[in-house]
Amino acid sequence: MDERGALLSIFTITAGCHTVGVDSEEIERVASDAGALSAGRTPGRSYRLEELLSGRSPKRAGGTPENAHLSALVLKSDGGRGGLVTFDGVMDVMKIPMSFIMPVPDFVRRVQKPLFVWGFHASAEGLITLVTFHYLAQEGAV
């Protein structure tokens, strides 16, 4: 996340009833064919976004993306092994002003382990849940 600038570039994904935003800085690339991606290259652990959102343990939210999911985010390795996040929703890229972001309260930051949802953005289409995969990597799960 780039807090220096006034705008944050996020990659938005529709996952179930959620619209999720991921800081573009965390993403190495996006692929619309997760199956082909995982067959050609295994960048690290893969996660199903819907399962992460449902609160399933990061260590159990993995799976084979080629079975049910169409698209994938390849996460930047950030010194680790990187990772793959699969999803089956619509995607878009948008820039949002940092001042329009509603961060989760400190209390939530303390008890959410690992930190995954870090804020929200109220867009015209509804609330976007801002998530980070950075802390999953720090936990050693990625």
Partner: protein, 170 residues
């Protein structure tokens, strides 16, 4: 009425008045009385920020990787507020699924909790507050340390300071 009788009458009256005064101190605390689970709870209005109906129960946004007593968050006019399952924390049973009434409190930070029913806002004389000890709960988990009677029912007073310093919110 002779002087002696007059004094005796005054003393009797004074005694009655004094007795009546000792039952009520005149010092009151205002409580919001709510129904949570199967219990009635009193919340001192010092900590009460607002009460509102949620238009849609989907407005509570669930969060992954959080303890069960944190139901999620709500957007209160641009501020993200955690929603607590107070009935779980206090051991009062399940949080009702259909509960759309939300109470927001503030001590160290704002927190909301769903209630079954908003019952009354009542001034209670401090003399009417009784201490409660629950030997079945650990001291740190015992957050209903006082109670009072309301229309023949017992209302447990939420010790908000203890709630915020408990393992659930600290």
């Amino acid at each position: 009425m002779g002087g002696k009788e007059r004094i005796e009458e005054l003393l009797k009256s004074a005694g009655r008045n004094k007795g009546a005064k000792s039952a009520a101190t005149g010092i009151t605390k205002e409580f919001l009385i709510v129904g949570v689970g199967g219990a009635l709870l009193g919340l001192h209005i010092e900590y009460l920020r607002e009460v509102f109906d949620l238009p849609d129960r989907g407005d509570v946004i669930p969060l992954p990787f959080v303890p069960a007593h944190l139901l999620g968050v709500i957007n209160v006019r641009g501020e993200i507020v955690p929603v607590l399952a107070l009935s779980d924390i206090l051991g009062l049973g399940e949080t009702p699924e259909g509960s759309l009434k939300m109470v927001v409190i503030d001590e160290k930070f704002k927190a909301a909790f769903p209630v079954r029913e908003i019952i009354d806002l009542k001034a209670i004389d401090v003399k009417e507050l009784r201490s409660v000890k629950d030997p079945t709960r650990k001291s740190e988990d015992h957050m209903l340390t006082q109670e009072f009677s309301y229309e023949g029912k017992t209302v447990g007073v939420i010790d908000v300071l203890k709630l915020y310093s408990s393992r659930f919110l600290a």
